[in-house]
Symmetry: C2
Subunit: 433 residues, 2 copies
């Protein structure tokens, strides 16, 4: 196999900021044709309900569905899917589900209020979403871990009804995905996918109930549909390619770091894996490990393409500079393979998740450590957060003015409303004086 | 003046669900021409920076700016704006700012972590956004209260730098808006507006720094620009027309309720004000109050159009049914003008803010009660929340596995990764066994 080519950058170079921007640049080009197709599908599902959903499902998924009732899987089929998988997989799913649930319990936000001296009560009331839709891709890229990560926080939040949609191309379905849905407590499952599934969840059909929010990953049709129904329902983020940034002091086994980079790169050709170290010789050692290990990998070609087109090795003058680069990148996954990761992590302001210390491989977090693997990509960790229980809860402000409180507040409101020429506001407040 | 015509519905009627959907329907039609203009402005600002911003500002705001430095207002001009306004307005702004700040302090989310038996540490770290942009409309519809409501939660969150943009058409600026910016602690102000201001905040120019998130209301150009830069930066919600739903048991002075409906309707012709009561005679009394009071209102024509095209009176069989209708509407503002509002509010699951009791006019909440007046519109209270401190904070997951923890977790991760055919994930975990 030819040696791998990986971009090498030096953070001390004056050209570095521009080079880093080029490395990170990711523009999902808007495909107007897909946009138009998805708009048509949504309009059709809104107009024709089940009939449209069945037609698209038969056409795109090569199925022969006659009635909408056939689209739903009952709880028994989930239970028997769980019963059918090997014991080690069933136990691993159970361990993961329990740990994800324990962590999620810490994220619940609670209602609060306080009473002022004059008896006025102010607060915020927290309620779960009534009904949530979870999109799960079908076919090859069927990930049971993704079912657990999306469904469990919703159930912990107290969502009344969690509806999963998963396409069943040619009638085939991954039993691990159904087993995960069983463990996570999914309430109903419909075997539909694509833009038609998103439209059905957003607007409802005779058979598929409308939800308040749609979460979960999907292909470009699903992502476009989610963008287009946003407003009618809430959505989670539209994810870009997955990324890892590893900062290493040069003292971790280079094979370990090479494999951590691979674990990101194997997702797809556009995944991005970057390694930063102050130790140039160490970067060379990791490169050697990559060349040694790559031929042994099942997805060697995907890994090679990802690392050579989007990967990078960055030399820094010290770990402080590494932290600065990390804050610029705001990576989805940040591995701190350094001696004192707790102290070092204080310098990190922007990252989806931080994997601290030489033993914390990102893969542990992807499956079973507990925190969510749905994380902000494409530098959006600058302003957004991992998926969590809080994404399935919402807040309502509470204001209960006492007679005395209304009198005091009314004077202030009246002055400000008149300053904004909103006289009905002013008079409404003045009535309570 | 002619009697006002207001839609009257009866929740007991079998046609009611469909009638209610028609009443609430609000489709912001996508204007492709505006979309294209805004795309061009964004591309121009990305390419030409300050030069483009100056050109658009001179053209759209009828100004003669020569250098980008002229676009910035220094802190002294804010301070002197505050000094220039009448004492009663200065005091009202101060009271409002203090109350908004006190309430916001209750919303701060805090970091947490926990240590497992084998020494593995899991947690979530909370950090404020580095830099936030606040859009403030200029000209006539300049609302100082909106500056306080958007800026104060950001400052309470600990945002490093808060950048306000406000257009200054023909060089004119509302001193109340600048005074509010001074009180709220805005760090820098640029007198630019429109799509060019949003583009400058999203991508940065030589003079205007790039931010992580843009909040604040604006016209259709601003809203379109915010949608188009989303992903590059975070944004708050794109607001629809403002709405109020009032539930009254029939025992509140009908003039008060009429004026509360007016206070929503005076915002604009598309604003929506709805009154629900089990007491038909009371609804007639409020209608009488509306007809009596309307001729005395400064914005009578806007109010009349809003109430007659989008307003409604709904008769229900009892307050329980009123709560059900409210949950279907999921209103931005919900006034519970009833005898025991605390008990009744337990039945409300979806609302942006609840104003409880006869003394709590919505106007008090709009200005100075404390809770934010930026609230989810168009039924989005089903899945989203008032603007708050939490919108200016973000979370990072923390995972620090002990050697023993990595050994246990590694086994589970390995089984699940192999189940998903992600072999690099599996081997990365297995290295730590």
């Amino acid at each position: 196999m030819p040696e791998i080519m990986i971009t090498e950058l030096d953070a001390v170079s004056p050209d570095f900021p521009g080079q880093l921007q080029n490395l990170l640049a990711w523009n999902e080009s808007e495909d107007l044709d897909i946009h138009r197709q998805v708009l048509d599908i949504i309009a059709d599902v809104r107009r024709n309900g089940d009939k449209a959903v069945i037609a698209y499902t038969n056409r795109f998924d090569h199925r022969q569905v006659n009635s909408a009732a056939e689209l739903e899987l009952d709880q028994n089929s989930l239970k028997s899917a769980f019963g059918s998988i090997p014991t080690d997989q069933a136990n691993a799913l159970k361990t993961a589900a329990n740990r994800i649930r324990s962590y999620a319990e810490h994220q619940k936000i609670e209602s609060w209020d306080y009473t002022e001296a004059d008896g006025t009560v102010l607060g915020q009331k927290i309620t779960p979403l009534d009904r949530v839709g979870l999109y799960v891709p079908g076919g090859k890229a069927a990930y049971p871990s993704s079912v657990l990560m999306n469904a469990i926080p919703a159930k912990v939040a107290g969502v009344g009804e969690l509806i999963m949609v998963v396409p069943m191309p040619k009638g085939e379905c991954n039993p691990l995905v159904l087993a995960a849905a069983y463990l996570a407590g999914v309430d109903r499952i419909f075997t539909v996918g694509g833009a038609q599934a998103v439209a059905a969840l957003a607007y409802g059909t005779e058979t598929i109930p409308a939800v308040a929010k749609i979460v979960g990953p999907g292909n470009i049709y699903v992502a476009t549909a989610k963008k287009l129904v946003f407003g009618q329902v809430g959505i989670d983020m539209i994810a870009g390619p997955s990324e890892i940034l590893i900062i290493c002091d040069g003292l971790t086994n280079p094979d370990w770091i090479a494999m951590d980079l691979f674990s990101q790169a194997e997702h797809d050709e556009n995944a991005q894996a970057i390694l930063i170290s102050p130790d140039k010789a160490y970067l060379a050692a990791v490169k050697q490990s990559i060349n040694n290990l790559l031929p042994t990998m099942e997805r060697a070609e995907i890994i090679r393409t990802s690392l050579s087109t989007r990967g990078a090795f960055i030399t820094v003058k010290d770990l402080q500079q590494a932290a600065e680069v990390a804050n610029t990148i705001a990576p989805e996954h940040l591995e701190l393979s350094v001696e004192n990761p707790e102290a070092f992590s204080q310098h990190i302001h922007h990252a989806g998740a931080i994997f601290m210390g030489r033993y914390t491989a990102e893969a542990l977090g992807d499956y079973c450590a507990g925190p969510n693997h749905v994380l902000p990509t494409s530098s959006s960790a600058r302003y957004s957060s991992p998926l969590g229980v809080y994404d399935f809860q919402k807040r309502t402000s509470l204001i209960n003015c006492s007679k005395a409180g209304a009198k005091e507040l009314g004077k202030t409101a009246s002055v400000l409303a008149r300053g904004e020429s909103l006289f009905a506001h002013a008079r409404s407040a003045e009535y309570r004086l």
